[in-house]
Subunit: 308 residues, 2 copies
Amino acid sequence: MSQPLFDKIAIIGLGLIGSSIARAARAQGAVREIVATARSPRTRNRVVELGLADQVVETNAEAVEGADLVIVCVPVGACGAVAKEIGPHLKPGATISDVGSVKRSVVRDMGSHMPKNVHFVPAHPVAGTEHSGPDAGFAELFTNRWCILTPPEGTDAEAVERLAAFWRLLGAKVETMTPEHHDIVLAITSHVPHLIAYNIVGTAADMEEVTQSEVVKFSAGGFRDFTRIAASDPVMWRDVFLNNKEAVLEMLGRFSEDLASLQRMIRWDDGAALEALFNRTRAIRRGIIEAGQDTEAADFGRPHGHDD
Amino acid sequence: MSQPLFDKIAIIGLGLIGSSIARAARAQGAVREIVATARSPRTRNRVVELGLADQVVETNAEAVEGADLVIVCVPVGACGAVAKEIGPHLKPGATISDVGSVKRSVVRDMGSHMPKNVHFVPAHPVAGTEHSGPDAGFAELFTNRWCILTPPEGTDAEAVERLAAFWRLLGAKVETMTPEHHDIVLAITSHVPHLIAYNIVGTAADMEEVTQSEVVKFSAGGFRDFTRIAASDPVMWRDVFLNNKEAVLEMLGRFSEDLASLQRMIRWDDGAALEALFNRTRAIRRGIIEAGQDTEAADFGRPHGHDD
């Protein structure tokens, strides 16, 4: 067990990410005391039942009282309102962070409510599953995943480093970049893939020639993996798209252009061009496996035993 | 061990599917003797090394000699040529099948080369992984997966039932439909999802603001799962798109329309419409889990231990 990096942490929002932070912080001895709060009484009760925090309180203001580290784990559209609420109650010298998948809007919405005497260091742990809520979290969620910090210019370097150390203790690898660059990178690696998955699952649901049960039955051919992504938290993702609108629309434009060109290859029987693209994408997969961001286990992630 | 359903099976093409059939047929005692062949000497040598067949021969004609069941496991674009080669050498009364992901073109391309005295029963086991070649196969690949049979009208019912029994013995669930319906269902549950995955991975590779290493690094946000699908066999998939052109282009048209509407929701900040769609797609995911076509294991398929 290491020396705690923070005395008291306040976690606001105990969904998949917030509850995983609570579990991981305790498992690693990263903090001495965990205070948790959530908007819904049902979530607060569940946090008590699961024993995820030392103290569960009813309001955000109460939660941040005396906390050395505050992590706001709510949908990005709600970050501004939470910041406004907690701003006047923050302990001088405290570090305030978040876990939002969009960073420009969080910097804008939360930043203006931060008093001068705290350290505001926005963060995005690039990790998740398609499940939501306090029961969905687990301590190893961040293991070997990246956590991106986007501190505003002039942020105290020591505060940034201490938050980085916290995330490393939770198993993450830390990288720092500007909010603008973050939002472009994540648009292509996360936001547009989610949008595409939601879209194709919606298209399939509307097919009249194909019954719903057929879509479900024969999903192992590839569709299954899209439904997994398209099962992610609806409110969280609604907020992501609305708050990273420019980058998402730009990437979507490129995606559609490329798709039109692919469509044309099929229409005109250009097998050589299709094969060339498919060989190129296969190489990217190899890069991801080599970078340790996925395993080589086969069958699109369906676990099975090999006996040969 | 059950009574063998066929005396001698000939498997033409020992890639992921062909080699899995060989392994599963042996594991289940479905046949008395397995004869295998493949176009490339490298694959044939590997089949010998892996001991997947009782006999490995050099030509397709030789392989089918005296076989009671012939399964052609090559890319759909090559099925016609193989049928032409084996047609004159087939044993009277034998059953001839395939494993192609497209059925209309296979019926058209193979059907004309089939002598009157054999049973031609096209099949499509809806199972696979992103890996290819004889080493990638495993005996449980078909367990709890669907195998779709598309026998031409007038095909001997007993021959169809015996092939169905063979697939059930290998662990699959069997369904029969017309080639036309098969091609529409699979266009939406498999072909278009693959095309979309190939496309977005290609779009990402072309991004100039985002380096390749960033795409790889932050892939855990969703992109990773697309790269898995986009790593599937290039030649197999080239042939699928070229041979199911009409259905794929039709579905792609619907997909693009829906995507344009989704794009508009984002541009005009229609959060309610986004959330409604995302809730709808989540429900489809539940259907797939309930149907046993995927597990509920979290984190987009990345295996991990839960300790909470």
